[in-house]
């Protein structure tokens, strides 16, 4: 599995408008819904489920990144997008540091194995200091796209 198999470049946000955790989750769910991953009538339910999930335990695993995610019946296909905040968002992260890069992953309800594989891909790259640094600096959607494609290439070799 490659990042480009499930990352929706068009839904990526080089500068998030929202300034708080729930707002960011809503903004990114809306962006993925706009690409057809979630139907309009399920948008609110998916966002709420993702926020509820986050309340059960922060996905801010440290180092300025958070990976909010949810499996939901209203998600038509697995998809992810990236939101960047230059000011930083309070995600109640494990290291208490602000989050500058948010990766939202939405998965259908009935395929836990694919969800786990996607999380593995995401964390594999987020662990790389360079990948995190470049993501934090990615000021345009084009830069985000290049980072994803480069990450996939490195993975191939």
């Amino acid at each position: 599995m490659k990042l480009s198999d499930f990352f929706e470049i068009d839904a990526c946000k080089p500068e998030l408008t929202a300034t708080d955790r729930n707002g960011v989750i809503r903004e990114l769910v809306d962006a993925l819904a706009a690409t057809g991953v979630v139907d309009e009538e399920n948008r609110e339910a998916v966002a709420r489920a993702c926020i509820t999930r986050e309340n059960h335990g922060s996905t801010g695993f440290g180092k300025g990144v958070a990976v909010p995610h949810v499996k939901h019946v209203g998600v038509k296909r697995m998809a992810a997008c990236i939101g960047r905040s230059s000011a930083g968002i309070d995600f109640a992260a494990l290291d208490r540091a602000p989050v500058y890069t948010v990766v939202l992953l939405l998965s259908p309800e009935n395929d836990p194995e694919t969800h786990l594989a996607a999380m593995e891909r995401i964390f594999r790259h987020l662990q790389q200091d360079n990948f995190r640094r470049f993501l934090r600096q990615a000021e345009t959607r084009e830069m985000m796209k290049d980072l994803i494609l480069e990450a996939d290439e490195v993975q191939d070799t």
Binding site: H56, V67, P112, L116, M119, Q127
Partner: protein, 101 residues
């Protein structure tokens, strides 16, 4: 037989039983528990693939282990055996993950 000491080692294999596998919440439960012990804690899938740090959520997510996967937990340190027992019980109990929350 072994005297308590910093080089105590213990190993156990335990199967993941909860339906969603080792996803983020079970990982956090595992890391929370592992972090209470002094012992070094390593985890792998016993298949020659990489071994990860059981106290790092980002590392543990790399296991991407679905239901039915056998995890191998390796502990080393003064409290290696108690740590191993607690962690193996957590995995075998399904992390309380399939219970309605």
């Amino acid at each position: 037989m072994t005297e308590p000491g910093t080089n105590n080692c213990a190993t156990a294999e335990v199967t993941i039983v909860n339906s969603h596998g080792l996803h983020a919440r079970p990982v956090m439960r595992f890391v929370d528990l592992a972090s209470r012990y002094e012992a070094e804690i390593r985890v792998d899938k016993g298949d020659g693939t990489e071994q990860v740090d059981g106290k790092s959520p980002m590392h543990m997510m790399l296991l991407a282990a679905p239901k039915g996967t056998t995890l191998r937990i390796l502990t080393r340190g003064a409290d290696a055996e108690v740590a191993l027992k607690a962690l193996a019980e957590l995995v075998a109990s399904g992390f309380s993950d399939d219970e309605p929350s």
